[in-house]
Amino acid sequence: MIYDQASYTREEEAQHEPLLSEKDETTVDVREESPLPEELTRDEVTLPELSEPEIARHYTRLSQMNWAIDAGAYPLGSCTMKYNPKFTEDVAANPDGAVHPDRSSRSVQGTLEVLYGLQEYLAEIGGMDAVTLQPPAGAAGEFTGIRVAKAYHEANGEGNRSEVIVPASAHGTNFATAALAGYDVVELPSDEDGRVDLDALEAAVSEDTAALMLTNPNTVGLFERDITEIAEIVHGAGGLLYYDGANLNALLGRGRPGDMGFDVMHYNVHKTFATPHGGGGPGAGPVGVVDELAEFLPTPRVRETESGSGYERFEPERTIGKVQGFEGNWLVLIKAYAYIARLGDEGLADAAAKAVLNANYLGERLDLEIPYGPYHHEFAATSGDRDAADVAKRMLDYGVHPPTTKWPEMVHNAMLTEPTEIENKSSLDDLATAFNRAFADDDETLENAPNRTTAARIDQTSAARNPRLSWQALDGE
């Protein structure tokens, strides 16, 4: 337990960590000091003004109120939170890599070599022909991939294809991405085994189909065994097959999207290649494509010079342009490179093998039913008539982070669980114990949970009905 002086000495209503602004705030008269004429400046600015020791204590205290993968398991299904090797921070901190993106290619040969190397690794791992590293996150990768697909159809005189097919169990980003790219979304139901329903797919495809977005293994951990037939159906209708890389960690070294008939895919580097998630980002969402789509990728890409003596940026012939202002999230990409290099072929395959073993072992230990299988790196248990969100809150009291809850919707009260390869047997045993105890607790206990955490159950309704999104909005409370 963290020693929390505030709980012992502060008045009851002030038993939170004060905001920076509540600690010390100063107003500066901007006009007084400005070299600019008065009409071009603001009057004043009011912000926290703290000394370095105060800042160190503030953020150290905040950090102590936060779960992290270094503190314990984060078994969030489809989020794939795994350990972030420390040495990757050191390689990213190299000041030689701290360069501006508008530098000439000849003056950043080192940076381009790392990026080229990562493009090559990712192409190999995904079975793809060409890779862009520009998308700054997985969802941005999806958007890039679907934009590329659209450009491809337009180039073939088929710009009237207006639909993207998305399985009902897909990640929310797939639906939102298709809409953002201007497509109508056609939702595809699952069959009773939890996989793509081939008959429904046959019925869904048409001359309007631009693409099918698919995760494999899917969001309940099942491999889409009919992937070859799925590819035939989609390609037969003239559509493209998009691979959502969220679950690629389960396939490393045992299956490649390119070999399964996928035309375009994104990689989630924090999920598969262990870059830190930083409490929400930054991520990186590189996109791989087959040859026919390479000329549409964002600009610039990196290639070896013709003489083979160096690297250069180049603009793909029919590029969709840019999806991030510069060339992507460098500080994330270099960590992914280092991770892949650390593991190599054998390590990558072992990561997938142990991720699948861990999920299966944990699933075996649970008292909850798991309706769909055989699953791989994740499974969707059901808490039956117990509210999954309540069970999850109770798990917090048992000292673990709960799984993703109430999603995917094909499982009632789903608890989508993905331990990843980094947990050992005793960690999984602890996780199973927390699951089973929470599941066995009575309703009242669940509804009142958690009560061993920094904050007790937080009122979501109040937060949304009376939005207070800044300390300015809290003034007077």
Binding site: V99, P450, I458, Q460
Partner: protein
Amino acid sequence: MSGRDYGQKAGSPYAPHTDAETAAMLEAVGADDEGDLFDIPDAVAFDGEFGIPARSEREIRAELRETLADNDDLTEFLGRGHYSHYVPSVVDHLADRAEFLTSYTQYQPEIAQGFLQALFEYQSMLVELTGLGIANCSMYDAATALGEAATLADRVRSTSGDVVLVPEQLREGKRSVLANYCDGADLAVETYPMADGNVDLDALRERAGEDVVMVYAENPTVRGCIEEQLADVGAVADEADALFVLGSDAVALSVLEEPATVGADVVVGEAGALGLPAAYGMGLGLFACREEFLRQVPGRLVGASEDATDRRAYTLTLQTREQHIRKERATSNICTNQAWVALRAAMHAAHLGPSGLVELANDCVREATDLAERIDDLSGYGAPVHDRHHLREFAVRTDQPAAAVADEVEAAGFAVHTIGDHLLQVCVTDLNADAADELVAALEAAA
């Protein structure tokens, strides 16, 4: 070099299983080996090799050190959207605390109060800097934030218009990102002219009409010019019932006209000017807007609430706007954002305090003014090209072809932008001002 990893086992070094544990777990699940657990048909199974050799930490660190040493050691006078200032060590040390760095999105707020509070504080700082009611807890970068602003304009404006107006002087990459976001919403990106580095107000007024849903302007502009008629630009947008979207950055906002007072509906831009060193274009997308757009904001929002014991607590809120709930009707597809960079920016801002932040911004004005004057004194150059006030950067006219000058300056150890046949751009900050003498000498030699 030795590739030996003392005490490391085969396979992934980050999968902790001993052979005995693996055996016990396999027995528990009734499998002979891990391969039994995979349900991948032979026809699509991969049994080849990637050909990626595993290396030790030491080898990889050495390899990347050597590779990155191939980057030329240039002093950069570069900006145009990617800005860096000195970031104090305390930011690295605190942000690198594993509790922040290795945490995930705050889906269980009861055990994520620390990060949520830090993001709430970041949002609050942007509310102060922009004067607008809402700031989200980050987009990817300035360009994607601009794209999101366009789709917001499309959702909230009642006009039947489909035109997004942007200044003719705009970073090409930013325009391209915007165009990609606009395409899906059937919006067209059109350009309005500029007059001596500022918005050409008459031309903009003439162009604005009911087909326009959004007017975008930057302060400072991509060429570092400070806009002198922002309130008028806002009025033109307002008359056309178009959203006025203003681009800026976290440092400039501390001294330039407050966006709310000039009628900005949305502020986008680069908040990574604080907290982030030069990172090859990685950024922190700033997104703030008026309160009336609350239900249409893209990205995550942290709000204050109470817990069951009535204590103040923070949580991600208004999530029904987001993709994981609203799917194809979400306000954006964004999921992962740049939260950790936002944390760094807030730390840097707190460390500077308002006086330090304003001093830094004022120096960005002074240094640019001084350096432009010195370059203007050289024969063969004119600076600044635009008769405006500047922040950080300015355009330079060259008698010689600009690209040739830039090459020569690069050979002397300095990087500057080439932005036209006879136009350079130079960005000066606290990080490179002490090399200004040498840059001036190099320019003189290249004239």
